[in-house]
Symmetry: C2
Subunit: 294 residues, 2 copies
């Protein structure tokens, strides 16, 4: 693996300000120039959505990078064009000029610093391991993908990359404490690549703890499809700790508690993420596994 | 003071779900019927903004109730009409059929349960005092107003009323823990009126601690008007504790700290509220005073 070109994206979702402010800080302080040979590009993902402080204008930009959509000129929305422009600038996908893309997101869930990895990619696992070695409360969320499958995510343009997800934070604000943590994770990501390109020996543990995606869980809903039970207060903010059978997960509008009813221990994440109410996701379930990274 | 008619409004801002879910719970459980003689009306303030999960469609509904605007049929936005419809249903303002309006809001700031009172109104102060006696972490935010002045807020329709403001919570989600606190505050508000109408003696302290509005403070901005310093991490979530000269308030994008520079002790509130970035408010400053409520 050689990394000669890196892109950092903030504001792929326009109301997630942490990434946007990280870019502002890097530009003002010219921090990326100290890693000159990585040729770091800084990109505001969805400027129009940022201006309006919304996740997206017409369609989720971070679901707009399937090859079939990038090649479809009949799509009419703002993000459909924005995806093509970004793909032209950084990619093109499958023959990308950018080797590694870091896409910065935030969540209303208590996810700390989460590194999201799609598909089985040893280099990405090593980057994640390096971040985890240098910062507390880092969690690796791994989504296995069919190796032939295409993904719709922005960082699927480049052969390597990750999504940096920080929380809990409301949309439309920037928090100094969360900005600091995200910044360290971001700089450690770049530092890893820089040191690797400088042929420095990096000692990493042979195994990495990852939370592997199992499935999503929707809110209970009434016959009109409206949410009829909210996240139980005992589950709220408990992203990553184990969830066992019998533990409360939902609280109905009538005032009853619904308990977790699966026999296997799971690790819930993205609990009560605002953008997922409409996507029928109250939280996602993962299992904890150890990956060999060498 | 006689209270024969009460309205409870949730979702005046469409992305503040706490009030909307309190209404859902009341409707399902028919809780308001136990206070039948208060003739409680439950109203979803801004249904279209709730559907789209935005604060408002065209204009802030909670700034749309000036008499001159209610009488102006040239205003074109959705909220301009919605305000007229609500005023017709509950008011009309200055000759209102509704005696008391409780308007439920939420904030990304760490405001606990805040009771917001506009103008000098002894009955409202007594209600607030009763809530404070029955629930922890209740704060009274008092905004003095010229007694001849008109206010643009929804609850200015009725002669008595308050705004219930709970936080910290992201927009577009409901949290069980915050819902519970808001619900207690709401029911204590109604209970006070119910007991008063039942001629029961209520013992309240003679004095009430209130945080009286002094002024708002904007973010530092660059020559293009863009935010150039964010809320400092030491100030974040410190709504209501005293702010003294020399304490950090902002952190610039370059990485410098800006300290509070006023000689008088102030009590900051609405620190880092998402909806106020565009209103040029980083936080508001109040002074702590004792009010006689008899």
């Amino acid at each position: 693996v050689r990394i000669n070109s890196v892109a950092i994206i903030g504001g792929t979702h326009g109301n997630e300000y942490t990434g946007v402010y990280l870019l502002k800080r890097m530009k003002i302080n010219k921090i990326h120039e100290k890693w000159e040979k990585l040729n770091i590009e800084l990109i505001l993902g969805n400027p129009k959505a940022y201006e309006k402080c919304v996740r997206f204008i017409d369609y989720d930009l971070n679901r707009s990078f399937l090859i079939k959509d990038l090649n479809n000129f009949d799509l009419s929305g703002y993000e459909a064009d924005r995806a093509k422009v970004i793909n032209h600038k950084l990619g093109p996908k499958e023959a990308s000029e950018t080797d590694f893309i870091i896409d910065i997101h935030s969540t209303t869930a208590n996810m700390g610093v989460s590194i999201i990895l799609h598909g089985d990619n040893q280099y990405n696992f090593k980057v994640a391991s390096y971040i985890k070695e240098h910062l507390k409360n880092v969690f690796i969320y791994y989504v296995p993908e069919d190796s032939n499958a295409d993904y719709p995510f922005l960082n699927s343009i480049s052969p390597y990359g990750l999504t940096l997800e920080v929380g809990p934070i409301a949309n439309g604000i920037v928090r100094h404490d969360i900005l600091e943590k995200a910044e360290i994770a971001l700089y450690k990501t770049i530092e890893f690549m820089y040191l690797m390109e400088s042929k420095q020996m990096l000692e990493l543990p042979r195994q990495l703890e990852v939370f592997e995606h199992v499935k999503t869980v929707d809110f209970p809903r009434n016959s009109q499809g409206e949410i009829s039970a909210i996240i139980h207060k005992n589950l709220q903010d408990c992203d990553y700790p184990p969830l066992e059978k019998g533990m409360p997960i939902f609280y109905t509008l009538e005032g009853n508690t619904i308990n977790f009813d699966e026999n296997e221990t799971m690790y819930p994440i993205f609990i009560n993420e605002a953008a997922y109410y409409d996507k029928n996701i109250a939280f996602s379930l993962t299992k904890k596994v150890l990956r060999n990274i060498y």
